[in-house]
């Protein structure tokens, strides 16, 4: 009797407790989300404040220098452009080819399964390991030197898994009925892919490419490993030229003890982030534009 009375009496209390626990938890969740956003803001703001004073046309248009106030990133920007150009040249056909094969042509057998598992695992390999691969295969065995070509071949292998995964997603958005109609009209498998599947899938595939390249632009460690130079007072003049890239130049400045070079590093970071954000904006815009235009 009395036990039941006690339970009944404590019930409103318990409900209130549970409700308060719930409120506390929600507050905690919101605080965590808020904190994450604040961290992002602090990160961008503190770097921006450090480097804002140094960003100017002269900064973009000068070479590396021993004097912090005369140093610039022209050589690094050119190096980044060269590297990205060649990386795109190698990785786009390879990545699209692999995605088309796996999505449209591959038979369902152990080899296909092995390739798919393998691509998943490659995506998880630390980038510096790719640096060791590039150092051995491209710099030493193929004797390409510490050049733009070595760097971009290595970088292509590094971003290939990203491009393949994104391109397959793009290909999968094209409904099977389109393929069947095309095959039914007598088109060959390749004609079907070339004229019916690729055109609508291409925007999403390009989005994947842009995201992969924006990852490649920020990569530093594997390029240091293959021996991209820390101090290069010239712009590359060909695929076999030595080079440096923006993040390596930033790393070089970070490592110097003088505070003036830290400012240069922060300014370099602003340029790098601006480059990245605009690439991402293009990717998102492209995706939204074509998603709205899709007919099915």
């Amino acid at each position: 009797m009395s036990a039941v009375d006690a339970t009944v009496a404590s019930r409103p209390n318990r409900i209130a407790l549970r409700r308060n626990l719930g409120r506390l938890f929600l507050a905690l969740c919101m605080a965590a989300t808020g904190l994450a956003l604040v961290i992002l803001f602090v990160l961008l703001f503190s770097v921006g404040a450090d480097g804002f004073g140094r960003v100017s046309f002269d900064f973009l248009n000068s070479y590396a220098s021993r004097f912090a106030d005369q140093a610039g990133i022209k050589h690094a920007l050119y190096g980044t452009l060269w590297l990205m150009g060649f990386t795109a040249l190698f990785s786009i056909p390879m990545g699209f080819g692999a995605a088309i094969y796996l999505e449209e042509f591959a038979p369902r057998n152990w080899l296909t399964k092995a390739i798919e598992t393998n691509i998943n695992n490659l995506a998880g390999v630390p980038s510096i390991i790719y640096g060791l691969l590039g150092l051995t295969i491209f710099v030493r065995y193929m004797d390409l030197g510490r050049s733009v070509l070595s760097g971009s071949l290595m970088m292509s292998l590094l971003v290939l898994p990203i491009i393949i995964v994104a391109s397959r997603e793009g290909l999968r958005t094209v409904p099977p009925s389109i393929r069947e109609a095309s095959l039914g009209l007598g088109a060959t498998p390749w004609q079907t892919v070339r004229f019916q599947v690729l055109p609508p899938a291409l925007p999403m595939m390009m989005t994947g490419v842009i995201l992969a390249l924006s990852r490649a632009i920020g990569e530093t460690a594997p390029l240091i490993t293959i021996g991209a130079l820390l101090f290069v007072p010239f712009t590359p003049d060909g695929p076999l030229s030595q080079f440096t890239v923006l993040p390596i130049q930033i790393f070089n400045w970070i490592q110097r003890p003088q505070p003036a070079f830290a400012e240069d590093a922060a300014a370099g970071i602003i340029v790098l982030l601006a480059l990245l954000l605009s690439m991402n904006a293009v990717a998102i815009g492209l995706r939204n534009y074509f998603e709205r235009r899709r007919k099915w």
Binding site: R18, R19, L21, F25, L26, L28, C29, M30, A32, T33, L35, A36, L37, I39, L40, L43, P93, M94, G95, G97, A98, I100, Y101, L102, F105, A114, I115, N118, N120, N121, G124, V125, P126, I128, I129, L132, L133, T136, L160, P161, I164, T188, P189, W190, G218, T220, A221, I224, T225, P247, I250, F251, I254, A262, A266, I269, L272, L276, L277, N280
Partner: protein
């Protein structure tokens, strides 16, 4: 005449058509071969990685015994008295990765629960991509942030003495992997069917209880896999630990001291002009091998866990 000619003509056309069709298929063979080669390149890449690491690691172990490498506590490859005990580097890598996870996992899970269970659709659609910006920021930027903000502003007051510390690297890594944890966990939570939530509400549970006792366990395999992948990312992370943790091998559990990670050592040697063929050169491959195997085991474990413990709905 004309009829007969017609049949002949028709016959040849049919034959020609069949021929042309098979010709088209033959002509497509090189295209198919090219596409297959592109896909097979990934196998070649893996084979290349394994081969490259094995070759130089083999050279390394001709001069250094496996027990010295894995059991030794002193790492001084550049001194005249060379010693190749990898434990200081390995310990630093694992410690920094785990510290980063201790910060990133609770925070990331709370964010994921908020976005998946509480946040209005509009908030989620803005917050999620904004947080994913964090994952896209290059790691040198985090290195700069750790060295010029986290260390002097946050850790100096706590007793960090030099400008380098494992803790500043860990915190920067925690920020970097936070969106990885939160995004992947949120995806897993949203995959838990609505009917389970409604069932729990029907039994009188409130939102907090549904989130922590229904959704969280239901999404556990995805969450654990996300955490393992994030740890593996932290283990392989290079620039943050190189910039923020310093270049001094140091077997210590004090996160406020500087220490060198596996990846940091590879960068340090790459920056110098090390001649190929020396023991110092092959040591970066041995360290790389250890790093590769560590992350590989983690990634495979994550995939296995995901497939083994996946809750199948519908």
């Amino acid at each position: 005449m004309s009829v007969a000619a017609g049949t002949v003509k028709n016959g040849t056309t049919l034959q020609m058509r069949a021929k042309r069709r098979s010709l088209r298929r033959v002509r497509e063979a090189p295209i198919h071969a090219f596409l297959f080669l592109c896909a097979a390149l990934s196998i070649l890449t893996t084979a290349g990685i394994v081969f490259v690491l094995f070759e130089e690691t083999f050279n390394f172990f001709k001069e250094v015994s496996l027990t010295e490498f894995l059991g030794g506590t002193v790492w001084t490859p550049t001194f005249s008295q060379k010693s190749f005990g990898v434990l200081p580097l390995f310990n630093a890598t694992i410690m920094m990765a785990l510290t980063a996870m201790i910060v990133a996992v609770p925070l990331g899970l709370l964010v994921a629960i908020y976005l998946s269970e509480y946040a209005p659709n509009g908030v989620r659609q803005v917050v999620k991509p904004v947080l994913e910006i964090l994952a896209g920021i290059p790691t040198v930027v985090y290195g700069y942030f750790a060295l010029h903000f986290i260390a002097p502003e946050m850790l100096r007051p706590l007793g960090q003495e030099t400008s380098f510390s494992a803790a500043s690297a860990s915190l920067a890594m925690a920020i970097m992997i936070l969106p990885l944890v939160s995004s992947l966990s949120e995806d897993a939570m949203r995959a838990v069917p609505q009917s389970l939530r409604e069932g729990a509400y029907g039994l009188g549970a409130n939102k907090f209880e549904v989130a922590t006792r229904v959704v969280l366990p239901g999404a556990l395999s995805g969450i654990v896999a996300a955490c393992i992948l994030a740890t593996s990312r932290a283990v392989g992370e290079t620039m943050i630990v190189t910039i923020a943790a310093g270049g001094q091998p140091n077997l210590s559990w004090n996160p406020l001291e500087g220490m060198q990670a596996l990846t940091g050592y590879i960068v340090q040697v790459s920056l110098g002009d090390t001649e190929q063929g020396g023991i110092e050169y092959s040591s970066i491959y041995a360290v790389g091998m250890l790093l590769f195997l560590t992350t590989l085991v983690m990634n495979i474990f994550a995939q296995w866990f995901l497939s083994r413990f996946r809750e199948e709905y519908d």
